[in-house]
Symmetry: D2
Subunit: 326 residues, 4 copies
């Protein structure tokens, strides 16, 4: 299907992606990974939960790690523009026969819990505790020196349908991959905040979270992390990269946390706030789509992902094959 025209007047105003809740099976191991290795800052912790923020964020958290029996994703969080947007969002999801629930969440004001049509747990809020800036406290910087959460990438069993839904709520496509044979969309990148994406969808067993990405300013941050991980026992957690994506032009690295949740370190990006920005189309068979420099991604990168709590997965009908490293 062709990419839909952007919905410039969505039913409610999503400012940006905000946070993700990861269920993890060994909180101490996750802390060593996210805090001591990636360099995220702890904003609160007890023996069940660790709240983290990146260096330029003033909201209370972008990741919540929750001790659990099973590694999965609790929820994806998004910030709305103002309080009426929360009610409009509730109305919208109700009108689509999707669950609507108002929940109490620590450090957050009114919070709407719902799911997308495929069961991805979502939460929307306007107010979250605001913290003092730390972006100029350079003594705190370590690991990959992550500046901010950048985007979520999800497996979808029907990317065209996912794009249509998220387009309806205002996400605009910046780049996409078409399967020339079937005419279907194999993957799409969609934004709210003016970068290449807040969310992306990739064809596959879905819904699952492919990765959460953090933004860093230069490829040297990524090289520093590679050097650190490869000499502190995390070599097997390095999955793919470094490289430059053709799509999005991003310099990237993919690493896996101790439970296998995938984290991208993402560098480059470009400004997309023009409402008339033309989406860039890539062919699934273009080897430079995945990596501008031509190296294929490993099979695990195409097949593995984190399930969402309470969402059943199903395979995609689209069986086109990307280029996988031998």
């Amino acid at each position: 299907m062709p990419i839909p025209a952007p919905n410039l007047y969505p039913p409610f105003n999503i400012v940006r992606l905000s946070h993700v809740e990861y269920m993890v099976t060994d909180l101490a191991a996750s802390r060593a990974f996210y805090v001591d290795t990636l360099g995220l800052q702890v904003t609160q912790e007890d023996d069940q939960r660790i709240y983290l923020r990146a260096m330029e964020e003033r909201g209370h958290h972008c990741i919540v790690l929750v001790q659990a029996d099973k590694a999965e994703v609790g929820v994806l969080g998004f910030k709305l523009f103002d309080d009426p947007d929360l009610d409009k969002a509730a109305e919208f999801f109700a009108s689509r026969d999707l669950p609507v629930e108002w929940v109490d969440r620590p450090h957050m004001g009114r919070c709407l819990r719902t799911r997308d049509p495929w069961g991805i747990p979502l939460e929307f809020y306007v107010k979250m505790d605001r913290l003092e800036p730390i972006h100029q406290k350079y003594k705190l910087y370590n690991g990959v020196k992550p500046l901010r959460i950048d985007h979520f990438n999800m497996f979808s069993a029907d990317v065209d349908a996912s794009v249509a839904f998220y387009n309806d709520i205002g996400f605009r496509v910046t780049e996409y991959t078409a399967d020339d044979e079937s005419g279907k969309t194999w993957a799409a990148w969609m934004h709210r905040k003016g970068g290449v994406h807040d969310v992306a969808f990739t064809n596959g067993l879905g819904p699952r979270l492919h990765h959460t990405a953090f933004w860093v300013p230069t490829p040297l941050n990524i090289i520093d992390l590679l050097d650190l991980m490869s000499t502190t026992g995390y070599i097997d957690n390095i999955e793919r990269g470094p490289g430059r994506h053709g799509i999005s032009n991003a310099f990237f690295l993919y690493v896996r946390d101790p439970d296998g949740h995938r984290i991208e370190i993402y560098c480059s990006d470009y400004q997309t706030c023009d409402p008339d920005l033309e989406p860039i189309k890539w062919s699934l068979t273009d080897p430079q789509r995945q990596t501008l420099w031509g190296a294929a991604a490993p099979r695990s990168w195409f097949e593995e992902g984190s399930t969402f709590a309470g969402a059943e997965t199903k395979p995609s009908a689209l069986t086109a094959q990307p280029i996988i490293a031998p």
Copy 2:
């Protein structure tokens, strides 16, 4: 005066700053500077005008160089969200007794020409010719490898009044400098597109354009430009830097074009799209405000600027003194 609360529901929707028209006295000399040295790309030129864009921009131009007898600034351009915004903007400026004129501008659709209350010539549009992406044509990259226009910085004879006006049309303050003695605002940074600023105002003989800034990803771009300029006859065009501003946390360099128009090369920045982002206050007497590392700026940087065509300047009543290099 205290910084006003942001106007989250402005009368019309400005997407971002867009372009500047520089009147220059020697078009060939300006071309050598902007194209061969800074690395901006020519999108059209004749013997009177050169249109330029930066590497990730798809709009037709971010700078227009116009051969003229006198070096000044023709207009500052801003992109609006949709067509009705143009009419709302016209209404707003008319309601403030400011000039409203619809003009024909090459490569642009409907275009509203007006002035702010101090005479700064402004133009607003929705559609500009869109060009093919070149951000992955790496062979074209040269000079400082500028990615996009980032912001305008203007001298104002009454910063509090300038902030109030631009706040009314939706620009939101991210950081500001207060003169503790008088209680007045000495400088302010205001954004629309989700970075630290689209426009900034600094106390001084106004209105004048202090500089136009271009965004680059790493300090090494700036060091490359310094090496290039200092060995190709442009050493006297280097005015200030490299350094890191306390305000905005930007790594910066200020250079002057052959007519003295000031260009900033700007690196770092941070995301500001949260509507509840708290402005950061700096004291005028904090030496780390100007430069985090403590070096003072030269006198020229505080005193020299480009006049706007048709706008009379007047001195500021606020005589507080910033820290100037001896």
Copy 3:
């Protein structure tokens, strides 16, 4: 065999590796690669030969490209300390029953042509034309901005024997890979000029030249080259990398010229001038030896190389297997 103790009092004083002569089948295609893409500077050229130097070199050339019917390596050149060293070198090679010939070479003074025991053509000289410094002519920098030739890496059918010979003439081992099973040396890095290597030997069908390396200061030079090559038709010339070697700690990229001659772009290195520097031993089965970050090299990297003019190759008796990408 154990690595021999360094010969601190060699029979003649080699200062450093100096230059390589590549026979190429299409001089224009090679020029496009070495000059327009890598950024080496032409110091002289006609329709049969192109002489090149890197940005900080003052000697006349580090590469000579020679139009030929067959792509191979003409000679490896080394600079000696003083004129008597030339005669001592001649004496040494004669004493080993190796060929000794005094040849006229353009831009060079007295020049001794010989071969090592396996037929690698070598030339030694003291004086080469000296050119004006260009390292501060930043306008000339382009491509990967190569600063200097760094080392030669050769396939050897008997690395222990190669190490013994080059050790005799003063090269000192800095790092090496041992095949734990056979007790033989699989690869060795040996220096004269105070870095990790001027020459290296790797087990395989030999003698052949594995690659010539150029030094650049930061990984960003390498990323720039990757972006350039992948968007100017050279994507298939990218063979391996970017990555960091465990051995030598170098950040690397391997590319192939139009004839398949392999060029390494090499970054990092460390100072090795202490005569009591202890060689670092790596095990052939350590995956971090090849790439600190754990990625295996492609088969071509282990198997392909450039033959030397007039030298017959033979397979190695050592059949230990490095880790090859699947």
Copy 4:
């Protein structure tokens, strides 16, 4: 006076500069500076002395901090090639009527203590305790991530005489500044190890140590240090930079330790091992000599330095004036 021809056959073989002993008045404050801020690694410490090494060094120390009543420089250390060189050095200094003493120094083998003709305390050795490599222990890297000691820069009251003496013992001039009026040398850079310098001399009240320099690979290391120092209470310890020297082409930063000892962070450099390398001459009145980009150095940088224990200073007869920041 003209620069002397290099002495290619010196009386003994100095491999490189090795270490400096700083007398400091508050060992804890110095530790906070050198270890926690610069990122040097402690190899041994007690309440009177701290031994430090940089990340790629295997010798036991490059700096010894010694608790003392007065801040000065205890000694400059140099590594010789072999044991006979020690005796040849003793002979040489005795022949010049300079003091010769064999001293016991912790972590070092035979050690010759002497002074140069102006009283600079020098020590020469061949063996120092060797430590395990840590250059790939990336978890240890912090601060400016210093890789190795690079050079000493000294004030001399007679630079021509200093150059002549150090030239006699094998240091070779790579670049120098001439006072065109008097014909005298104002400053000179001299090397042993194949970089721009191991030692340098600058006209002024001498002998005093101007600075000790540490090598880092990229300007970003220096920017990281500036950000760190300016936000951890060390802003007044930043004296000059960042900038690029015309001389040596180095990207530099000068900082002062808590006692005022000056440390340079030095990046770039180039290879100088060719015995026929032509020294580059700069004019004292060339503003790009000091800083390629044209910024003058502050007065303190020209006037302040660390005295050597037991050496009396005297003013220079050469009163030519460099360009000083107003």
